[in-house]
């Protein structure tokens, strides 16, 4: 049979309840036409895939080097104790962070 699913935040949810037998597999394959699949966005995709795995372990605190870089010196001066090198963020990570920031700002969480 075919079922209607709604895709939201990467999760497929059944539009109407379907009662599955206990023997039904927990994983099923959802076929998506190629024309609906957008290509990846990140210039260095491997870098960010790796970073996501490592993020929890990254605890860099190195201050960005401002030698011969007047702009970096200006940024460091403004950031003060918050001036430090940070792990990269993929385009998708940035979008998620933006959503988080907006939600926090406007939903009070």
């Amino acid at each position: 049979m075919q079922v209607e699913v709604i895709i939201e935040h990467g999760r497929a949810m059944l539009a109407k309840p379907v009662y599955l037998k206990p023997t039904a597999p927990a994983r099923m394959v959802l076929e998506i036409d190629d024309e609906y699949v957008a290509p990846g966005r990140d210039w260095f995709e491997d870098e960010f895939a790796e970073l996501r795995k490592m993020r929890a372990q990254i605890t860099t605190s190195r201050v960005p080097d401002a030698a011969n870089s007047p702009v970096q010196a200006r940024f460091n001066a403004i950031l003060g104790p918050l001036a430090k090198e940070r792990p990269g963020s993929s385009i998708g990570d940035d979008h998620q962070m933006l959503l988080d920031a907006l939600e926090e700002r406007y939903l009070g969480r």
Binding site: A38, F44, P64, S69, V71, Q72, I78, L79, I91, D100
Partner: protein, 533 residues
């Protein structure tokens, strides 16, 4: 910087990388910002994206800080700092109406960034690490690492035309100030004699160092107004140079007076003071020297002759605003100084404009009245005048340009003029001397603003053609001296009457010039001259 260089448009992700030192490649983004800050390349951001930058930077800093108020403050300062480095792309508001079929289904914010860049910038280059721009964008996109490693030369637009005067680069440099000034006029709606007129006149009189500045509709009308204020009329004679733009002689004739020409100094192209006295008659009512090509005439000598004969002197300073003579500014050297703000002039409006300068209270009052239909109070006209006011919008544009003009463009023009002479003189060895290339001569007591950078050469037509083929525009200022213009045939003057002006008219040609002219274009121009010599 010029139209060939890429104009960097920073995507949100790259801005946040640079601000917060994010990822492996943030230093490349900061390197590019350093280049923008030092003037090596232009850098822009899309105003609608700045809130995204604020939220991303703010969220990141909030997570790293125990003090939310402090991280919020630092975020705002960072974003403001960024706006001192990058310029905002102009956004009129109707861009979304033109985004059809740009890249269906993709990121609306990104699409708008690309639309603004395409609308506004020649040769835009989007700095991003979002590969969707590569797929979708009509403009070129590159990762900062790629731009830094390949260099800007890799992104040069070789099809771009070298402009004779690069007003576009100047406009981009001050676009936010221009927009703000224009919006202010649109908002208050005082299009005639609005508050910007008084502001401009005060700033210009302070800059020149004279008591009064009277703004006007053009640098031609200012000559007319000056002569009307001095009471010059039919049958009177005004002494001037034959080697100048038509308006100088034209206004003398328009008022009914007779232009009496005096030949020029062969080195400066300005009126030769040694020849003035012989031209003075009982009908002479004024001397009107022209400070040609951006260099002042010899005013000590001219004023001495004028004083001896009780004559006023009007400096036609249409090309010399910003220049100095013995430490004094052009327009402050005589009874009246008259300048032009034609767009291509050293200080140019976006239409016609001009200004008069004097220390004489009575002349200033007369010139103000003549400028405004001869009116001394509302609907009361003791004398004939003209509609000679400057538009408020033009005053607003000049105010937006003035700081850059005073602080950067005037010294830049002097440096570029000097560099041209150095490049040409070092490129043309003695073996080329028979070609007769003569670079401008600037008197030791003068500084020039090089309204034109004008050289002399024996075979002008050949060099004009050669430079044109190399994509370098030139102009001739001026091919026919005034005494040989058909309109002045009634004066009965003929070829040979002013041999120095006539010789100059046959040999002069002007090269691309302006404060934003790059050394590369200058070198290219000189290289194109060299084989012809």
């Amino acid at each position: 910087m010029n139209s060939r260089m890429p104009k960097l448009v920073f995507d949100t992700n790259i801005i946040v990388d640079a601000l917060l030192a994010r990822g492996h490649h943030y230093k490349y983004a900061v390197d590019l910002l350093n280049d923008v800050a030092s003037g090596k390349v232009e850098g822009w951001y899309a105003p609608h994206s700045i809130t995204t930058v604020y939220y991303l930077a703010g969220k990141t800093l909030a997570l790293d800080s125990e003090n939310r108020a402090e991280s919020e403050k630092r975020t705002r300062e960072l974003v403001k700092e960024l706006a001192t480095i990058l310029k905002p792309l102009p956004q009129v508001g109707d861009e979304i109406l033109r985004m059809n079929n740009y890249c269906p289904g993709d990121d609306f914010e990104d699409e708008l960034i690309a639309q603004l860049a395409e609308d506004y910038l020649p040769n835009p280059l989007l700095v991003t690490r979002d590969k969707w721009f590569l797929k979708c964008s009509k403009i070129r996109a590159a990762h900062p690492k790629e731009i830094v490693e390949d260099g800007y030369q890799a992104w040069i637009n070789n099809d771009a035309v070298t402009p004779f005067i690069d007003l576009a680069t100047q406009q981009r440099a001050i676009r936010p100030q221009l927009e703000r000034r224009i919006h202010t006029v649109l908002h208050h709606g005082q299009y005639i004699i609005g508050p910007e007129i008084k502001q401009l006149e005060e700033r210009l009189s302070g800059y020149v160092g004279v008591k009064h500045c009277i703004s006007a509709s053009s640098g031609t009308d200012t000559l007319l107004i000056a002569m009307m204020a001095l009471g010059i009329g039919p049958g009177d004679e005004v002494i001037t140079s034959p080697f100048t733009f038509i308006s100088t002689g034209e206004m003398i004739a328009l008022i009914g007076a007779i232009p009496v020409f005096v030949d020029i100094d062969p080195r400066t192209y300005n009126i030769d003071p040694a020849k003035i006295e012989a031209a003075i008659t009982p009908k002479t009512k004024a001397i009107m020297p022209v400070s040609l090509y951006g260099q002042c005439a010899d005013f000590d000598a001219i004023n001495a002759i004028a004083d001896k004969h009780g004559l006023p002197v009007i400096e036609d300073a249409a090309q010399s605003f910003g220049a100095t003579y013995k430490g004094k500014k052009s327009c402050a050297l005589s009874t009246i100084g008259s300048t032009s703000f034609f767009p291509s002039k050293p200080l140019g409006a976006y239409g016609d404009g001009g200004a008069l300068f004097t220390n004489d209270d009575n002349l200033a009052k007369l010139m103000r009245e003549i400028r405004l239909h001869g009116q001394d109070r509302r609907y009361h006209h003791p004398r004939i005048g003209l509609n000679g006011r400057m538009d408020t919008l033009q005053a607003a544009i000049l105010l937006a340009k003035l700081d850059r003009f005073i602080e950067w463009e005037v010294p830049q023009r002097q440096a570029i003029g000097a560099r041209y002479s150095e490049l040409i003189n070092s490129a043309l060895s003695a073996q080329h001397s028979e070609q007769g290339v003569v670079t401008p001569y600037i008197e030791p007591h003068n500084t020039s603003v090089y309204a034109q950078y004008t050289v002399q050469i024996n075979d002008r037509d050949a060099l004009v053609k050669k430079l044109s083929e190399a994509g370098i525009p030139t102009a001739v200022h001026y091919p026919i001296p005034l005494h040989l213009q058909p309109v002045f045939s009634e004066l009965g003057l003929k070829e040979g009457d002013f041999p120095i002006s006539e010789a100059a008219a046959k040999r002069v040609m002007s090269l691309p010039m302006g404060p934003d002219l790059t050394e590369a274009v200058q070198q290219q121009t000189v290289n194109a001259i060299r084989p012809a010599c």
